[in-house]
Amino acid sequence: MKYTAVYVLWLLVLFLVPLSIVVLFSFLEPRVHGGVLWSFSLRSYSYLPQYLRLIWRSAWIAGVSTILTLVLALPVAFYISKSGHKNFLLLLVVVPFWTNSLIRIYAWRVILGNNGVINQFLNRFGLEPVQFLYNPFAVILVIVYTYLPFAILPLFSSMEKVDESILEAALDLGANKREVFVKVLLPNVKAGLLSAFVFVFIPALGSYAIPDLVGGLNSKMIGNEIARQLLIVKNWPVASAMSNLLIVVSLVGILLIMRREKMK
């Protein structure tokens, strides 16, 4: 019981209060150099339709990145769950977290840049340099790289709980390896897939640093616009309204997935 109190307190302080502030600000008037004027207005929301393209782009970049991440994470998680060196391999999965994420994003610029490692390599064979950076693909690549561990870990933990003998039973009953994976393993790691989806899709949708550093004008995401409104335009209510929209889009995405799961 006393833990409930602590839990409620944390939830209030760390989640509900900030969220309420954001919601509140979105219904107020902006002050010229940042901050808000205490008068009710829906003006901020009226700007949102002009960002539809941006929202759509953010959603598909996040969606494609999430699917790619899950596809890559599945075999890795499976391999680790069957390996005799689980702890060591899990350690390798989280090793990137020891380095600040901004530094890792910069590292990708060093690899992919016009004068980067790959292009220098191509140059040696007399090939024309390729523009890898500043497009949606670079953004997707780096999102996948950044959030892969967040997909591997929940998938691993649900795969580890799957009884090895049901996989053998499927094989015994005539399934080939692919059928075992699709018809028996996947349905039994649904919970892990769902958490992996949530852990990757939500932060990917709100990406800010990645599109800022490796994306171009055609690959800005909603996070960049929120930051611009807050820091440069200094229109806090619009930044708040966009944040709320982001929350709604993530929730809708997750609810859709969960409903599909239930219907099956």
């Binding site: 009884d163 003998s165 049901i166 053998e168 039973a169 499927a170 094989l171 015994d172 009953l173 005539g174 399934a175 080939n176 059928e179 018809k183 028996v184 349905p187 039994n188 649904k190």
Partner: protein, 365 residues
């Protein structure tokens, strides 16, 4: 319909550890064949070799005369029932049984019919749409059997399918399994460490220990004429005695056992005077009475040191005058109206027929 399995000189190692030591077995078409042995002796490994989950370093496995070692598990016409049943938790009973049929692209109506028949066979029609987590242990076990039979395998491999159930249910399901075997007519290879299970339903039993086959025979042969000390002690309970041969007669040896005395035993193995033998004498073959029986040989006097009432019988531990402690099991049948009930500290006579003891080993002297 059933398949015939030949296991030829199979050796299997896990690293340096040899699990199967030159195992050879002939399992006949349609037979209920049990592999019996203590925990860790390699039974599951042997079954997994047949099913295709383990490779072997030496030897061969034939099904109806053809080697199946090169076939992967999903291509072998044998199916296995795992110790844990391994039902698919995300599928209903119906879909669990239909799983192998869907893989083989049976039509919906064929699937309905075959699964229906199997559900009927295991008497689970009304549970068809439950999930495994909603079933009792016995029901799970039956679903696992139906699912394994759906493919119409030539051989069904069962790895201790009853070990997770309580004693009474185990008895019931064992009889059910036996009936099922009669109905479907395919070969059953049944692995267990429970001697009663193996003995009560099998046509033949292979007794295994430490990766080796110790004895193959009918349950009667395995119980009545164990080939060595391990076989004698693993199955049932027995009195083991080291005895010295004093005299060789036409049908019997006259022997002397330390702690017991001089008596006759049946000459079922060759030995000479002066040899040392190990004898087994089952406790239920020994008579026990307060009065001295009207026979002259194999009668010894002693005191009941302990009695264990078992309901259907009583186990007595009798200390003979010379010191040997003999286990004697007495059924609760009274042949004489005034036959006294025997109790702790009573003085008694034990006696047995010389034909009822067996020589399990002749030790070189």
């Amino acid at each position: 319909m059933g398949g015939e399995i030949s296991i030829l000189n199979v050796n299997k190692f896990f690293g340096d550890f040899q699990v199967l030591k030159n195992v050879s077995l002939e399992i006949r078409k349609g037979e209920f064949f049990s592999i019996l042995g203590p925990s860790g002796c390699g039974k599951t490994t042997l079954l997994r070799v047949i099913a295709g989950f383990e490779d072997v370093q030496e030897g061969d496995v034939l099904l109806d005369g053809e080697s199946i070692l090169h076939l992967p598990a999903n291509k072998r016409p044998v199916n296995i029932i795992f110790q844990s049943y391994a039902l698919f938790p995300h599928l209903t009973v119906f879909e669990n049984i239909a799983f192998p049929l869907r893989l083989k692209k049976f039509t919906e109506s064929e699937i309905k019919e075959r699964v229906g028949n199997l559900l009927n066979l295991i008497r689970m029609e009304e549970h068809a749409f439950k999930y495994p987590s909603q079933l009792s242990g016995g029901q799970k076990q039956r679903v696992a059997i139906a699912r394994a039979l759906a493919n119409e395998p030539r051989v069904l491999l069962l790895d201790e399918p009853l070990s997770a159930l309580d004693a009474k249910l185990r008895q019931e399901l064992l009889i059910e399994l036996d009936n099922l075997h009669d109905k479907v007519g395919i070969t059953f290879v049944y692995v267990t460490h429970d001697q009663t299970e193996a003995i009560s339903v099998s046509d033949r039993v292979a007794l295994m220990n430490d990766g080796k086959i110790i004895q193959i025979g009918t349950p009667y042969e395995i119980y009545e004429s164990p080939v060595n000390v391990f076989a004698a002690t693993f199955i049932g309970e027995t009195n083991l005695m080291k005895v010295d041969v004093l005299e060789v007669e036409e049908e019997y040896y006259v022997v002397e056992a330390p702690g017991v005395g001089v008596f006759r035993c049946y000459k079922d193995k060759e030995a000479k005077a002066g040899n040392r033998l190990i004898l087994t004498l089952r406790p239920e073959k020994i008579r026990i009475s307060k009065q001295k029986p009207m026979i002259f040989e194999n009668v010894f006097h002693g005191i009941i040191e302990e009695e264990i009432y078992m309901g259907y019988q009583t186990k007595y531990f009798v200390r003979l005058d010379e010191g040997y402690i003999m286990k004697v099991y007495k059924q609760h049948v009274r042949y004489l109206l005034d036959e006294p009930i025997l109790h702790w500290k009573d003085e008694v006579y034990v006696s047995w027929d010389p034909n009822d003891s067996f020589i399990v080993e002749v030790l070189t002297s």
